[in-house]
């Protein structure tokens, strides 16, 4: 009944094209080799999971994609162009949004304001106009507010629209953070442990939102998650990292049956 969020799935470039390819990427911090020669790709419209035991290099991988870390070796191709020197804000302006393992919101600001910050890159009126908050700046804000309100409706957080996020329970904060990432209208959405610290019901809700975002907005997603049930249900393809190396890649069924994956999770005598 409410206006539904932009259903761009049908108009986006062909589903199944590779949107991002990681090739032979290695990353080390001093002597610590976080990622060692990993290659994989993410296809447009899919939900791609990156899993692995603690310390496997999952978050580092996300940070590489996000432009926060610069791999010493290897290439990253995003939308057909090989990446040069990269910064997070460039990644953001190119349509990559993310959420964080530990919620990173502005605690004193309301849900609405937090999600509005996701529109920052799309606001073009000068700071003078914005400070006056009239004329073209106001028109612009109203347009952005509409997008944000649709996201609030989509994520069913109307009741906390005006609540400072610091007062919200963790599960809702995660949802607000997802809302802020969505406000960027990303082509590629990176989710770092979207279900961490949630109870079963919150996990179910979050799973439904992830699926709905993927289906209705056609947003490509890469997610890190520990809850295997969630990963196997949600994702189209899974890449498994262990000690910075890729040990498996494929559909959930294939990955689940892979002996190396089982060993990595259960541990084997070395």
């Amino acid at each position: 009944m409410k206006a539904d969020v932009d259903q761009s799935k049908n108009t986006s470039p062909a589903k199944g094209d590779i949107i991002l390819a990681v090739k032979d990427v290695s990353l080390s911090f001093g002597g610590v080799k976080a990622i060692r020669g990993v290659s994989f790709d993410i296809k447009r419209g899919e939900i791609r999971a990156i899993i692995g035991p603690n310390g496997a290099g999952k978050t580092s991988m996300l940070n590489v994609i996000n432009g926060f870390y610069h791999p010493q070796v290897g290439t990253i191709t995003y939308k057909g162009e090989q990446r040069q020197q990269m910064r997070p804000y460039i990644a953001a302006s190119q349509g990559i949004a993310r959420t964080f393992q530990n919620v990173a919101l502005f605690k004193g600001m309301t849900t609405l304001d937090n999600i509005m910050t996701g529109r920052t890159l799309k606001m073009h009126k000068g700071i003078g106009w914005q400070m006056l908050r009239m004329g073209p700046a106001l028109d612009e804000e109203v347009r952005h507010r509409e997008v944000v309100e649709k996201i609030i409706d989509f994520l069913e957080i109307n009741a906390i629209r005006k609540t400072p996020v610091g007062k919200l329970p963790y599960g809702l904060q995660k949802r607000v953070e997802l809302g802020r990432a969505l406000a960027m209208e990303p082509e590629l959405l990176l989710l770092d442990e979207p279900m961490a610290g949630m109870n079963l019901e919150e996990k179910q809700d979050m799973s439904r939102f992830i699926i709905d975002i993927n289906r209705q907005m056609g947003t490509t997603m890469a997610l890190i998650e520990h809850d295997m049930g969630v990963v196997m249900d949600l994702s189209d393809r899974v890449v498994v990292l262990d000690y910075g190396q890729k040990i498996a890649d494929g559909t959930p069924d294939v990955v689940q049956a892979d002996q190396k994956v089982i060993d990595a999770y259960l541990g084997v005598a070395h």
Partner: protein, 665 residues
Amino acid sequence: MSEMPASRHIEPAHDTVPQLLLRNAVIFGGRPAMREKDLGIWQTWTWTQALEEIRALSIGLYVLGLKRGETVAIIGDNRPRLYWAFTAAQALGAIPVPVYQDSVADEMAYVLTHAETAFAIVENQEQVDKVQSIADRVPTLRHMVYCNPRGLKGYDQTQLQSYTDIQAIGRDELRKKPELAAWWEAEIALGKASDTSVMLYTSGTTGRPKGVMLSHENVVVSGQNANLFDHYTADDTMVAYLPMAWVGDHIFSYGQAFAGGICVACPESPETAIEDRREIGPSSFFAPPRVFENMLTQIMVRMEDAGPAKKAIFKYFLEVAKRSGDKLLNGDSIPAKDRLLYWIGDKLVYAPLRNRMGMSNLRVAYTAGEAIGPELFSFFRSLGINLKQLYGQTEASVFVTLQPDGEVHPETVGRPGPGVEIKIDDKGEVLFKSPGVFQKYYKNDEATAETKTADGWVRTGDAGFMDSRGHLCIIDRAKDVGRLKSGELFSPKYLENRIKFYPEIKEAVAFGNDRDYVTMFINIDLVSVGSWAERNNVIYASYQELAAHPEVYAMIERRVDELNAALSKEPRVASSQIKRFLVLHKELEADDGELTRTQKVRRPFIADRYAPFITALYDGSGRASIRTEVTFEDGRKGIIEGDVRIVDMKLHAVAAQTPVREAAE
């Protein structure tokens, strides 16, 4: 409502809800009919716009094959589109059947199957999923219509249509054949007051839900009467937030709204209802007691976080309100000083509180469903909120009795509503006759015959009596009421509830069934009596000691006497005055099996356990002693001995036995 054209205007008829829609579109055309908050902004539809929306849907449904007499399930939160679906179906002579939106699939299957629904109009994916999961058990179901497309993209759309698509079909048809508009109005004109307008399934605490069939007359006249009773006009606004399947919402947000051209506002979501109510500032508000209880708790909790100055002001003026508020509402006179203090308190505390609760524009608030605690009731009234009680049920299209302004007594549920007749049968059960009396239970003649007598009276299942003021007092479920040996009615729960109104008394158990007179066990309230003891320098070491203290006994005796005095003025319960009582030496505990986990007394168990006390109460002895096993908090068991005094009360003379008015208005 005197300016409203009544239904006696000759042509056209205004007997059914769709006929009222046509009327409202003419006389209230540009005025708001519905509001809904969407994307954070209140959207408004005027009566003219509502008519257009409803007509488009109605014709769309007709094209899909909805026929006169078929039933349409309506499932979801309070949404304008769902309210319109009622009218759209009714316009074609179909019968809407709202279903509780939170019912599980099984319950839904029962209602949909029993009602033989042909269409289901539902709010969202959640409801679509539920209905689809039971669809194979509902052979009559042909089409499902959803309002919110979210998440439904991948669904098989053969029997599933979107609301807007159906409206588009309707609008398309109208464009092609403009004469359809006249045809549609002619269909509406075919409707009669006696036609079934809606079927409401009672939630049914025992057995399967029953489908209560209400006629258009039931809904329309009940709505009109309610509007008259509390003077609602087209300038009023209501907020619809209670389940659409519940008769209260159907009468308030639908019957009353259409009858009076009242604007109904739908909150953005159930969670935002309080905030949305604050923004709308409705002129009436209805809620079961627990909603008021939650509001009170929230206020108190938030006040705990306030600064000391604020707290002190709050506390002081709450006392002022307690003294004067209720009297002011009732129009009683109070000293000028209190009046001034109340005025200051209103500026500083009461008005901001009312605003916080969305009650700034409130003229009247109602509570019903269960007994409301007198303190809770007085709290809201003392803040200047005209909270009243009503008594009703689905079978009555809500209204049986209401408390008129200026006649609000916490222990009664008010006078018979407009057009309502009440009689009490020899078993004490309340029966009523009213314009709202339901037609029958759908496909359940047996239950209909049990509830509705041949001459049109409806059994409520509740026992009660009319007091000397002509107000109805509900005392118990009829099946729980007993009799004294003299044949007089005796309701233990009524006496217990009355005595528990006193803060010093925490729990009470009354006896009297098949006895010569009424006796009572009383439990003192340790917090209240303890603080009284502190203030009066009464020293005590244990509960047992405090309970047996002569001064405590004296105080309880005064309370029992007060109650007896009050009872003596009500002929129907005068014989239930408490003749002898004792104060128990221990608190009744759920751990000992004396109370249920929901803190209700288990009368038979207590009678058995304290048999020596009961014997003593009826054999005239002045003391009674007992050894009882108790369970301590750590689970160990122990024996405590009780030796308690029994007090003989002097009963009050019964007020002159004037025949009780079988109040009928």
